[in-house]
Each structure stands twice: as C-alpha cells, then as structure tokens.
Amino acid sequence: MKKSFDRREFLKRFFKIGFASAFSSALFLYFHNKEKKDEKIFSFPDFRKNLKINPEMVILKGKDLKKIVETGFKSIGGIEKYFKKGETILLKPNMAWDRAPEQGANTNPYLISEVAKIFLKNGAKKVIIADVPCNEKNKVLERSGILREGRASGAEVLVPENSILVNFGGKTISKFEVGDIFLKADRIINMPVVKVHSLAGITCAMKNWYGILMGRRNRLHQDIYQSVVDLTGAVKSTLCIIDATRIMVSNGPTGGSLSDVVEKNLIVFTTDEVAGDTWATEILGKSTSSNVAISLAKAKGLGTDNYKEILKETIDLES
C-alpha cells in the first residue's frame, strides 16, 4: 500500500534536505582555499641579558677538575658574573658520539658534572645538559658517561625530542630547526672539546653549535665555515669552557682509538668563542689562517683571532 505524500511529509523532507545542503555548503565554504598557517618562527633569547661580560680568557692546567673549575670561575670574574640566582643554566657539551670518555670524542663527563655542581651550589634553579647527537641517542648518553655523571651532579641530561624553527638571519642559515630546549634556558654555557675535523680543520667552540640543530643538518657541510659563523653569531653564549683534557689529533671528529687522542689536561674559560677556536687551532698545531671560520667570524665582529689580547692569566695547578 502506497502512502500518500501529505503536507507534513513534504515539509519534513524539505527541511531535512535543506539542512543537509546548508551544512555541507557551510563546511565546504569554510575550508575552501583555506591556507595552512605558517609555522611560527622563533629567535634566540639574549643569553647575556643583564650581565656585564667582556672578552676574557683564562687557561688552566691540572688534573683536579673540581679545583680547576673553581679557580677558573674565580679568575674570570666570579661565577656570579655569569648568571643570576634562580636562573636555568643550559650546558651544551659535545655529546655526539657513541664513544667512551677516554676516547675523547665527547666532552669530558667529569668536567661537565663539576660545572653543573658549581652552578647548582651557587643558586642556579636548574642545570640542563643537552645536545643533539650524531649517533643513536641512547647509546651516546650511556657510553659517553654524561648521563651517569650529569645525573649524579643533580643536573638534568636530555636530548631534545621536538624542534622549532628558529631565525638565524645568517648568510647560509636563515632559518633552521633547533631543539626546543635550547631556547628555554636563561643562560647557555658552551662546553666543546678540542678535535681535528677533516672538513672544518678543527672542531671546537664555534662548530659545537651544530649540536643544537635538528633535521638534516648534514646538508650544512656544503658551506661549513659560513654556517658555523652564522650559528655562533645567532646564539651568543654566556660563557665557553673548552675541554682540552684530551685533544683528538687524528681521525676526528669520531676517533675510536686511544692513539687518536693526546692528554693535555688543559681547560680554557673564555667569553670569546672565536679566540677560543684560535687557541684550539694553535694547540692542534694548525695555522690560524687555514681556518676560514675564524677570519669570517672576525670579519663579522664576533671576536678576535688573537687570543693573547684577551688572555687574562695562565694558571698551572699541577705545580
């Protein structure tokens, strides 16, 4: 039996169809040609805000790392000169390789822990040790000894998981993905290790900033000198503590054999990374003129290529 199509039925269907078409049109029109919003671009905070920092440099020699760190800070103007109480300090060591401490491919874990301890003792809210490694991160954390020593000193050791796009405004690097943790700290301390590098000549303070980059940072090798200068110019760290307890003289930057490293027992405190790199070039027995990054950085006004100008003192704690 057929049901007649009465007025009520007509109105019901009419409204159903009307509602459905209105809804779909609204939906389509809303999404029509809607462009995805651009990713937000961040920039580095000023890690030297409210601090009076002059280019200075102190070279220390010795085996007692605790004493070295204490003397070093005292000599370069006191630790309170480099941060304010209650701030978050980020230590950026070289923690890139799946290598043991004695192989000298990463920053000495005991030096890192001493620096973390002294900051915590003097009233830092938190000390974070972070780097983006080249090898598998968990193996690097364990094998470098930095996870163990860093945690023992009371610092937080981590490898950033998320990246954010940061404006560098350099010649080679205009924007690049950076681990988010590196922008969250109040002060950033560069803690490189001195090594030879087949492409860049040496890797020390300036090249260490590669470690904050995420994504396909390997592409930057195409213009390595300019990119390290761009990085150094953008980050402007608070202080740089160069680990030359062991320096890698061959097979850099990975090494692997104990014959690749030479024990020097030197630590350098500097506020000028370019001068630090100049010193490192010299200790590795290379000529400063061969390192194009130094001359590019000097031209950009990032520092001096004559570290003796700013060298405050050389302290030998061994004697």
């Binding site: 968990n138 087949s198 492409l199 592409r219 213009d223 390595i224 097979n251 990975t254 692997g256 014959s259």
Partner: protein
C-alpha cells in the same frame, strides 16, 4: 581453588611475562652501564619450543645453546600431555581469549566436537620436518612462539608503545595483519589455530600419545555432551577421547553431571581415538614434502641464485647455513638499538622471508654493539664480543661511492659527511684533495674515497648522506666476512 582456576592463573602469568620479556628486549630499559650483555632471558619462550630445537637439529645436526631448555617441555608433555598448549603457550591464551569473545552467545557443543580438519596440522608438521631434514628450515613461518614474537615486536609494539620504543619495521604492517587474520579464524570455531594449523601443537600432540596424567572416564557416561561446552581442544572426552587433541584445559571435569571425568594418574589406556592419517594422504604428504622443498631449493637456495645484495646482521653465518638456522623469530630486530634490522621480504628469496636484513637507510650498525648475536636463539648469528667486532673486523658489507650524485664529485660542493661519521680508526673513508674548475671558478675540493681495508659496512655513511632518497654512498654486501664467494679483498 580448582585446577581450572590454577590453569587460568598460569595462562595469564605466562601471557604477560611473554609481553614483559619482549619489552625488556629493548636495550634502553636496562639499568646496565654498557649494552654488551642481555640481563634478562628475553628469549625464554623461543628457547623452550621443541619445534625449534627439533627442526634445527634436523637441518644442522646440533641443538644450540639454550634450546636445550625445550627438553623440559618435551618431558612435561610426555608426563602431563599437552599442558604447554593449554597452560603456557601465550599464543594459545590469546586464541582462547578471542574464542571466548567471539562465541559468547553461541551454542558451542557442536563447535567443540572432533573434526577431520584437525589432522591438517600433522601434515604441516610433517612438511616442516621433512623440509628441515632436506636443509630448508621453514618452521619459523608458523611456529606459534616465533610467529607471535615476530608479529608483536615488529608491528603491535611499535604502535602501542610508540613513544617508548621508537622502532618501526619495514612491512611490519603485513605481519600485523597476518596475525590479526589468524585471530579472526577463531570465528570459524574456537581455537582454530591450535586445533587445525599449529605445527607445534601437532608435535606435542604426537608426543602426548599416552601421558602419565590424562583425562580418565569412569563407567556411567550418558553422552550428555556437557563436557564439550567449553572444551578447548575439541577432543570429545565423552566418546573416544582423542588424547593428542586434549590440551588439558580441564573444562570438562566440573560440568559433568555424572562426575565420571577426572584428570588423574594413568588410568585405562584407551586405544580408541588414535591418530588416523590415512595411508594415502600420508604418502602424498611425504612425497609433497620431498618435492616442494627441493623445488624451492632449486631456485632459491642454490648459490648462483643467492641474492647477494642483502646485508645480514654482523656475525651471521654463511647464507645457506644461516637459512638452515634462522627461525624468523625477530628477536634480533627487536633488540637492535638503532632499528637497523628488519624482516626481509622482497630483498630475499622465498625461504628467507622475514629473516633479518640490515637496511642502512633506516638504521646503521652501531660499532660498539653485539646484541643481535647474543639474543639469537639458534646461532644463525654467531656470538661475538665487541673487541672481536672491531679488531677483526667483522664486515657486513662495503661502502660504495656513487660519483654521479655525490656532492663533491658531481656538483663540486664540499661535503664529506660520510668521512666525519665513519666510526673506524683509522677512518675507512678518506679524501683526496683536488683542484677543480666549476664554471671557470677554480677551487680545491675534498673527494671522499673508501678504503676497503678498514670498512666494515656499518652503513652510517649511507644513513647520514645528505642525498636522502638515493644516498650517494651506500653499502653493498660484497666484502662481507661471512661469505667467501662474496669477498673483495685478497
């Protein structure tokens, strides 16, 4: 507490310990300082499977290391019947759970009667054992523990614990779907896999021809069929009782209104219900089993057809020996800290499907790592120490530079990321400095070269090469230590 409850507790315990052991096979949950030792018996379930030990015994002539543990299961079966299937096997527990879910509202007596299809598993077992004897170890495809370990670790764990275990596997999706398919077979009737397909169940069924403890029936059965209501094996205790199908679930004892059934020592030996694989089908199976492996071997296993382009984990045996031993369990893939090992599919021939291959583009072989060799339950990967790996060195292949897309060679752009990453000392990638002319502009460039004397084929160069889609430096298996025919250097 009756026996049934105890069984359930056992099942739940073994099921969860199976999962926990898989999760513990992730190196970064360990507290140890170095990763040169596996602190947990992560392979326990793989090593207690008698099918693995018997099959590798047939194909290679030895029972490897911890596979001796499977003797325990054999003796257990001879005494108590198929308790392994009903009480221990985690795959069986999973099937029992889903059978229960799928058949909640259905009349289940009919589904739990004995069916002729239950014989299929014996033919599968015969096929696997004969092919193993002919040197083709195929049981890993369907051995339940291997199958479960592989499927769980390569597909489900990487979804469920993706934040914790950061490992994904090439075509893990397929293994996952195959696993789900096997679970859905329980719609046909409960425990379809265990009753019809499982080759390990068949082996244990043959072993439980006359166990000391079994279901015994006193006089007075009225054939009410109530015992069949939850029967897991479908073995009809009220009639002839197909002893080899009984998985000792003990679900038949309490429902019996006459109380004639009991699980007890010895009792009457029933000759009825014995395995009746008809002579004709048995002969067909044996001939088929002789023929098919030979056919597979005629194309796949022969040396000249070997796919030399697949990179095996370090320490792997020579290919034909490797295939004889590999049970495709996936424990090496699970434990690999760099996610370098993946189940093979198109890389290899039929018999090698789901064996481990190293894909450097996804993950490289870490220099200070020997975990895959430590966990291999059958010795397809021979254990080695890290010192051996570096000093010998154990090579898995050789790096090859393709100058047609390598940045310095093809485009005159400095790069040598591969040289920077190379972990050997001295570096196996060195460079030659050369004056080049790029559109009239003279410049000096460093061209990477490979020194095969030091290269161990770890693949970090391929992994880190800035040319991502087709790395300009890649690893080929030529030069690997394991195969004499594939060596390059004198």
């Amino acid at each position: 507490m009756n026996l049934k409850t105890i069984r359930l507790i056992y099942q739940i315990f073994f099921f969860f310990s199976f999962f926990i052991l898989i999760i513990l096979a992730t190196p970064f949950v360990w507290k140890e300082e170095d990763f040169s030792q596996v602190p947990y018996p992560t392979n326990f379930f793989l090593e207690i499977s008698p099918l693995h030990s018997i099959s590798t015994l047939l194909s290679t002539g030895i029972v490897y290391k911890n596979l001796i543990l499977s003797l325990f299961v054999i003796i257990l079966t001879l005494i108590f019947g198929r308790v392994f299937c009903g009480w221990i096997c985690p795959f069986g527990t999973l099937h029992q759970f889903f059978s229960w879910i799928f058949h909640l509202k259905k009349e289940s007596i009919k589904q739990n009667t004995y069916k002729k299809s239950y014989k299929i598993k014996y033919f599968i077992l015969i096929f696997f054992l004969i092919s193993a004897f002919l040197g083709l170890n195929l049981e890993g495809f369907l051995e339940p523990l291997s199958l479960m370990y592989r499927s769980i670790s390569t597909s489900f764990l990487s979804i469920l614990l993706s934040n914790f275990i950061k490992a994904d596997y090439s075509h893990g999706w397929f293994l996952g779907i195959f696993f789900i398919f096997l679970i859905f077979l329980n719609f046909i009737f409960p425990r379809f896999w265990c009753r019809v397909l499982c080759p390990l169940g068949a082996l244990l069924g043959l072993l439980s021809f006359s166990p000391l403890f079994k279901i015994n029936k006193k006089e007075g059965c009225t054939s009410c069929n109530k015992c069949l209501k939850n029967c897991q094996g479908g073995d009809e205790p009220h009639k002839e009782h197909y002893q080899r199908e009984c998985i000792v679930c003990l679900n038949c004892i309490s429902p019996c209104p006459e109380k004639v059934l009991s699980y007890s020592f010895l009792g009457k030996i029933t000759e009825k219900g014995k395995l009746d694989l008809s002579r004709r089908s048995l002969i067909f199976t044996i001939f088929g089993s002789l023929l098919i492996p030979s056919l597979i071997k005629s194309s796949a296993g022969r040396k000249k057809f070997l796919n030399y382009n697949m990179i095996r984990p370090p320490g792997a045996l020579e290919e034909s020996e490797f295939l004889k031993r590999c049970i495709k369990c996936g424990s090496c893939m699970k434990i690999c800290p760099t996610n370098a090992l993946h189940p093979a599919f198109s890389e290899t021939t039929f018999e090698g499907i789901w064996t481990p291959v190293l894909i450097p583009k996804i993950g490289y072989c870490a220099q200070n790592c020997n975990l895959c060799s430590l966990v291999c339950p059958t010795g397809a990967i021979v254990p080695f120490t890290i010192e051996e790996k570096i000093a010998k060195p154990i090579r898995i292949g050789s790096a090859v530079i393709d100058p047609s897309r390598c940045l310095p060679y093809a485009y005159g752009t400095p790069c040598i990321v591969c040289e920077e990453m190379c972990p050997t000392s001295p570096k196996s990638i060195y460079f030659e400095e050369k004056e080049i002319d790029v559109r009239g502009e003279k410049k000096s460039i460093k061209l990477p070269k490979v020194d095969l004397k030091y290269c161990n084929g770890c693949g970090i160069c391929e992994n880190k090469c800035p040319i991502q889609s087709h790395p300009a430096i890649y690893v080929i298996s030529a030069g690997e230590t394991r195969q004499k025919e594939n060596k390059i250097l004198l």
